[in-house]
Subunit: 178 residues, 2 copies
């Protein structure tokens, strides 16, 4: 049986820099009403860059909500309506300083579908050539080169806690095994 919730009302609680917060009421399939708090986010792109020696190019940066530095694939937020591939190629250039001759989709992921419209597109990038990295004035990160095999071990040992990074590494490894 198909499940469904019908929007009855929607209210914008906050309209900010990177997200909006809505408070909606919905009608459930039993006729009851329920509150839905929803973050509106335009989605993102994450890119797994792999060099000719099977090293990954990752970035290490401070993530304020976690209170810690995380090791992540390069990634960025899409502007409303932006093409995911263009966004990914731009982020790869800006954060890691490389172009890619091969840039292939690894599908999408909803990171928090219970309360957030963010949908992320994952790519892998190969046949890399260096170009100028150009971070924003207020962006601070280090590029870290990590062998794929070591990265897989780190994911399985829970040493890489970022979700999109874990998924991109395991998905790439599985796709290349096929």
């Amino acid at each position: 049986m198909a499940h469904f919730e019908k929007q009855l009302t929607t209210k914008t609680i906050y309209d900010g820099k990177i997200l909006e917060l809505h408070s909606d009421t919905v009608e459930l399939e039993n006729g009851n009403q329920a509150l839905r708090e929803v973050i509106i986010h335009h989605g993102g792109v994450g890119i797994l860059p792999v060099d000719a020696q099977n090293n990954l190019l990752l970035v290490r940066q401070f993530r304020y909500p976690t209170g810690a530095e995380l090791l992540e694939i390069p990634a960025g937020k899409m502007e409303k309506g932006e093409d995911p591939r263009q966004c990914g190629l731009r982020e790869l250039e800006e954060e890691v300083g490389c172009h890619a001759a091969v840039f292939e989709s690894m599908g999408c992921m909803w990171p928090t579908p219970a309360y957030d419209t963010e949908l992320d597109h994952l790519f892998y990038a190969e046949e890399l050539t260096p170009c100028n990295q150009h971070l924003d004035e207020d962006e601070f990160l280090d590029v870290v080169r990590l062998p794929l095999k070591k990265a897989i071990e780190m994911v399985l040992n829970n040493e890489i806690p970022d979700a999109k990074t874990q998924l991109a590494i395991l998905k790439y490894a599985a796709l290349k095994q096929k």
Copy 2:
């Protein structure tokens, strides 16, 4: 070099049912100030239940922010300070209707570390015995039994878009291969 952002001010914009929204200012390492919009969420638990025939027990439910039904591992939100294992065992019982003699950690994931404090704990569950499923009055989902091998193919073909579900399936497959 270690990167860091120092909190200067914090303001609660919204204090809701499942999340809070804060608007903070931080000092960056170059001395500039920046705005950080942060969702405060107590985190969740996701469980991959695997039966003796290597079938996964997944749930299909409507996710309002995505506008669609998603196929997911059973999962739930933790209460503040709740033990992840207890939360996981409870969700397994409530959503899927089973107990597990084996309940092992597969680590954690930050789904959206750029702007959200949600941290999710992943487990796999084996040696399952049926018990009564007991959904909340306003909770609607179907339990779907899916062979592990088919589930891996679906992840690689981008037919399972939920992040925690993709990650749990690939992580379980990789751990069992080791």
